[in-house]
Symmetry: C2
Subunit: 312 residues, 2 copies
Amino acid sequence: MAMLMMSKYAGRYVDPETWRRELLEAIPDLDFRLWPEVGDPEAIEMVLADFAPPGFLRSLPNLKLVSYLGYGVDNLFKDPELPAKVPITRISGAGIADQVAQYVLLYLLRRHRLLDHYDNLQRRRRWDPTRPKRNNEVVVGVLGLGTLGTKVASILAEIGLPVIGWSRTLKRIDGIECLAGEEALADVLGRSDYIVCVLPLTPATHHILKRETFALCKRGAYLINVGRGGHVADFDLIEAVDSGLLSGATLDVCELEPLPEGHPIWGHPRITVTPHVAAFFVDDGIAEAAENYRRLKRGEQIPHTVDRAVGY
Amino acid sequence: MAMLMMSKYAGRYVDPETWRRELLEAIPDLDFRLWPEVGDPEAIEMVLADFAPPGFLRSLPNLKLVSYLGYGVDNLFKDPELPAKVPITRISGAGIADQVAQYVLLYLLRRHRLLDHYDNLQRRRRWDPTRPKRNNEVVVGVLGLGTLGTKVASILAEIGLPVIGWSRTLKRIDGIECLAGEEALADVLGRSDYIVCVLPLTPATHHILKRETFALCKRGAYLINVGRGGHVADFDLIEAVDSGLLSGATLDVCELEPLPEGHPIWGHPRITVTPHVAAFFVDDGIAEAAENYRRLKRGEQIPHTVDRAVGY
């Protein structure tokens, strides 16, 4: 039974040599292979991947499990020939949730607590304790309440910010007003001063933030997208910010990545863009991959598998 | 029984008209007075203050309670004639703790998550997912574990950062390694990549961060001071940063406030200064002051009183 690792981020987010070494420590007799050194395809029963060329996974006759090297599995669904019966699992998300929560805290508090304004005061040597907004003068709407969104919503509530959470199916989270379903989205957008997108990318959430939904937002709302570039229609966002509908945005993800040099987002004075770094490390995945391999060998159930019908 | 309000921050952090209105809503027959309109001093039994001219409080013959308009009461102790037997109480701190936690999160994550670096990449239109430090590659030392320090330490731990807490007397906080006493301070400073000062200002903590203690710090440590300006010897800090002992600092408080225009901190490339805004709102205090007034009238115990022997 061989395990094949396929990463388009090798050397960037993922260091395959660390994975190889730590997986071999956990499973000394492991037949570990690194794309594109596939070897005998018939031996491969488990693939660790953050991408796969269309049709490739289908070409592995004995594939029993795909373990995604990250949290949002939408990349894999781009393969129209993705084998229908092979289960897909993903990282459980605790370590990723911490990183994403840090990112959201940083870029939300940057605005709520006037960081750029105070930087500017320092440059002008002015001691002017400008009044920020009170916590109860703003509302944060968190779209998506999986492991990541729940962490983000909870930590914002713990520092005194009023939070509304929105998800496909209704969740219950202590201290958070939770809403669900398409109709409730208009309500959340209409009440939120900050809109934080932590959704999975599925056909139902593609371009969930576009001209029509920006028109439902509270005037002057600020968007933070840590989901996927596909959630936001880039040019509709620019239009919404330029017209004053939204006050600005921080985007960790874009429709096209890397963002092309000539793209108007780069130079937009009210849009901050970071190069897909909200969750940088997927280290939780090494121990989980080893455990999945063992479970597969023993014929046991694999945790955190993706529901193909909903896409995450 | 009259209540006198004395605020040097009137119109800035504190809006006395809001206090007057809300206190009169809570206590309709209240004899409320606003400094400098003192009226008959004999009627004054309670003072709400964030400052008092030396000797003034002693001149009130029937004073029974001083309710501090904030959290750090060190200002009052500057009065050598402060009446010894009048209890001093302060705001319980939950609302202040949220604000201080936000401030610490913002300025600590600014560095940990490379905000200025990514801003710079955007200006250069470069999509370069630069690796930040992993959470387990840094340690945060939190000095002071009262209501504020405990909140700060807990929230940092909840987003995955390793935290050591230090206080005068040993505390126990879930998920935080707690140390206490003077000898342990060297240990905390020697292990911390971030040093967050949330101490009360007392004779024992005045200039706790000075040349001798900076020499004990881990090389390249970064200081965040949300305590009082008196905790840090400003010019020793500049020297420690210039020599590379520390990598930089964010100061919300300074030895001299407002910071004089010619002070070298203003233009220092590795020191950020904000105009004493970490906790901007003291609104919790209105309801608490009304409750203290009622307790005083009924002859009941007053909560959150200051221990004169330790100074907070």
